[in-house]
Symmetry: C2
Subunit: 325 residues, 2 copies
């Protein structure tokens, strides 16, 4: 049985959204009775709109990323399931101020399918909709097939950069170019120390034996790439960073953003112990940390584990990352 505080499992996403809207009613509202959260002040005049979204169950994704300086709307599917096209279509309509809308989301087959349908529906009405896919997870496909890689915690940084840049009168083409560059500069890899359970059913999405850890496990229980005996925090951080650094590759004198993301039940103590090693290891390689974020940004219910994301900075990305949200 899942040890979860819920009511009727069918109402999970609806009640999540109701609770969040009550909590944050000065800044966001719900679009009708849809599982779509929008800025309270939409549409924002003369701004390219930013629509994000995906399956629920990864909170704070996606609804907590809506507001001034960040996304204009978030569409929520059911737990670990892509949002249906009508949600995204309605979000696009609510957000569009005449300068077009960018769909910025993580690369999963179901999401791509449904977001693409919404894009076509909106295009039929003459709305300029462009897509930027996030595919930062390096273990899910080799570099030669980067376009097949899954999206994970780089979204936390991308949403912020998209919100800041779109709020400063950047046009559609420039925005798409900026965001694709920021995606290309991002690399993530995680390690799981336990499974997670689906809140609707209480069943675990996979099993991971006591004393083992698995690199590259997906946010929905997708199989990882390497299962090993539990390693120390320092060795874990080093292993992840070696994979990430090699992949871009990140080089001496690069300046990076770092995200240390907890999957759900991992404590902040563990995250800071990992952060400590990241600083010393990157420092030893001459890679400079411009800023680090440590917390739960892209979760998988009560899964134990962390992911590390590096994004290589240039002056343009740095400018927009630094804008207030």
């Amino acid at each position: 049985m899942a040890r979860k505080l819920i009511n009727n499992p069918n109402d999970l996403v609806n009640e999540l959204i109701e609770g969040y809207i009550l909590f944050n009613s000065s800044k966001v509202k719900r679009l009708g009775d849809l599982n779509v959260i929008i800025r309270a002040d939409l549409p924002v005049k003369d701004k390219v709109g930013i629509v994000i979204g995906g399956g629920s169950g990864h909170e704070p994704l996606f609804l907590e990323y809506v507001g001034k300086g960040i996304a204009d709307a978030a569409v929520h599917g059911q737990i670990f399931a892509a949002p249906s096209p009508d949600l995204t279509y309605n979000a696009i309509k609510a957000v569009d101020s005449g300068r077009g809308v960018i769909l910025l989301y993580n690369n999963y087959a179901g999401d791509v399918l449904n977001f693409n349908i919404a894009q076509e529906m909106a295009a039929d009405e003459g709305i300029n909709v462009q897509t930027v896919l996030i595919n930062d997870e390096i273990s899910s496909a080799p570099k030669e097939r980067m376009e097949d890689r899954r999206g994970t915690t780089a979204d936390h940084l991308l949403f912020k950069i998209a919100g800041a840049a779109s709020g400063e009168d950047m046009d559609m083409d420039s925005l798409v170019r900026l965001l694709r560059k920021a995606v290309y500069n991002s690399r993530s890899l995680g390690v799981s120390l336990s499974a997670c359970s689906l809140p609707q059913t209480g069943f675990a999405t996979f099993t991971l034996e006591d004393g083992k850890m698995e690199f590259g496990m997906g946010l929905h229980g997708e199989a990882g790439v390497k299962k090993v005996d539990l390693m120390s925090a320092d060795d874990t951080a080093k292993t992840i960073l070696d994979y990430i650094i090699d992949d871009l590759p990140f080089k001496k004198d690069d300046e990076v953003l770092v995200v240390v993301n907890g999957y759900g039940s991992t404590t902040r103590m563990e995250m800071f112990i990992v952060t400590r090693k990241i600083y010393s290891y990157l420092n030893g390689k001459g890679i400079s940390i411009y800023s680090a974020e440590v917390g739960e940004f892209c979760t998988s219910q009560e899964m134990a584990g962390v992911s590390i994301t590096l994004m290589k900075l240039d002056a343009e990305i740095k400018k927009y990352y630094g804008c207030p949200v």
Copy 2:
């Protein structure tokens, strides 16, 4: 075996602090090699100092509450263990600018013993040190013995109010009066859905059978007051609120701060489902929510569950709560 990302278990607190300082080096620093985190700009001239602290393992408590507009120093014991007197004594000395220091911490026997020794050591050197104990947890002793109650998530609000008021030139006596009023106006109660494990050993602090939940469980595995079959989120919130509302009591037309605190592995989805019920239930009783905070503030490793805190507001408390941190 604990599913924890750590190195040598003896280094947990030291590495937590090292990681946090690297992460936040512009605002905080470590006091020598002690497990004491202080504002980087200490001592702040003409300000009553605020020293907080307690056992580690409850992160973000206590170290993440140090900074401008919040505490001046945090002293950390080992996991779930009170900090030794010398740490607090050194923190007092570092913080004092001549106007005295307040020790603001949760009411646990070991903490009281050790903080009191530090207070005496500092008093011997002529430093005016006052203590404000936080005792918001209503199930740990009856109301007639409020002074025996444990401190929990009200500390999140108290630290903010103390930091704001002490930063606005409030003198020692006025500050102590304000903080004691705010403590008195605070009530908390939680429910646990699982045990937590000690990161040093991997052993659980207690057992809780599948399908059960326990109200009033302590942050260190102290026995609760009522074990029941798993209830819905709505019934759980209502049960907790009934206890809390009755205890102060909170009345129609009261204005309150609400904190919904996750103990560790509880998802933000669950927290917002609970938050939803809190809004409707308090609204039905004519109690007005000035602001709510939803997150992990006072954790117990990977324990599942939530606590709810209400603090009754007046104009003075509201003023300081609203100050930027």
